[in-house]
Amino acid sequence: MSSPEPRPVAVDLVRLLDRVASFFPVLLLAALAALTYWLDRSVQPPAPDRTASLRHDPDFIAEGFSAVQLGPDGRSRYVISGQRLIHYPDDDTAHVEEPRVLVTEPDKPPVRISARRGMVSADAEHVYLMDEVRIERSGQGEESEAVLTTRFLHLLPKEELARTDEPVTLQNANTVIHGVGLEFNHKTRIVTIHQVKGRYAQANGR
């Protein structure tokens, strides 16, 4: 009699999603908060004779920028870069073209984040990544590389939340998960995916 051994895939999804927990390292969220702080510091307050109607004009543009934050050990903890960054004082928002974030935490595989566009709200309360959003976590040991892709990702650094209502795909060597809508809570390390479709193929047969 054959074994009705369902070997539910879910536990391997749990393992994959363990990786998702590391997709959103606290550092990343801190990095984004720092971005706005760094902007504020480097932008002079608008001259007092500004006309009454504060138009949505940029006051600061950086081309090909890159900001590196070092850890206490002097090693780079994260690098935020982009092709172009435009800061608007009226709503204190920063728009970034081709944002890239590289997060390197000690003895953890690096995490790379990229998107076509990004927007950081006042004091990085909200960070939006748009178009070809991709979070990649390199493999380490027998854990293969894991990639999350979506069209839109909303990060809330202070609340340590990341969410999207768009289609999202999480993938590693032998598991693919599609969903429409995802919410990740970094504090509770709980990931919720809606309309989830998982495919798990054991890498080595058995």
Binding site: E5, V9, A10, L13, V14, V191, T192, V196, Y200, Q202
Partner: protein, 168 residues
């Protein structure tokens, strides 16, 4: 046709919640898990992994169901229960509450059925509550075993209490 165990596993559900701290995954809403010929349908499925990596899955439904073709035969095994628990360490599938299992023409009902994939032994327990004799779930084991010309096929004992059957 590769055995089910070596087939990719597909799982769909309205929602999947993965708790990395507790290492559990909870799937809710139209949960369908397929692997080769095996299909499990449930309203809710909770999967946990113990320290040394053994998986324990619990499927809830009204009823939850499972269906699988026996390897190398074209005979199907089907099972229904309000709660089905699978433990990959012991390779045992346990059906609780209105448990029913059918293999080919044979069908067994009880309040609890456990089926061990390795030994191919299954145990059926009645709920022990005597209820009216006129039908209704009388809490006894009811087994319908079709006469077969296969020699040596043991019969599940239809008497009350526990019955166990071996199949080859």
């Amino acid at each position: 046709q590769k055995p089910d165990r070596e087939q990719p596993v597909y799982l769909e559900a309205d929602t999947g919640t993965f708790d990395n701290a507790k290492k559990t995954a909870v799937f809710t809403g139209n949960v369908v898990l397929t692997q080769g010929t095996l299909t499990i349908r449930a309203d809710r499925m909770v999967v946990t992994q113990d320290a040394d990596g053994f998986q324990h899955g619990v499927a809830y439904g009204n009823p939850a169901s499972f269906r699988q073709k026996r390897e190398g035969t074209d005979e199907w095994i089907e099972g229904w229960a309000k709660r089905m628990e699978y433990n990959s360490r012991t390779e045992t599938l346990e059906l609780f509450e209105d448990a029913r299992m059918r293999r080919g023409q044979d069908e067994v009902r009880g309040s609890y059925i456990s089926y061990n994939a390795q030994t191919e032994l299954f145990r059926v327990l009645g709920s022990g509550k005597e209820e009216n004799a006129r039908g209704g779930s009388s809490g006894r084991v009811r087994a319908v075993i079709q006469p077969k010309n296969r020699e040596g096929a043991d019969r599940a004992s239809p008497s009350g209490g526990s019955g166990s059957g071996r199949s080859r």
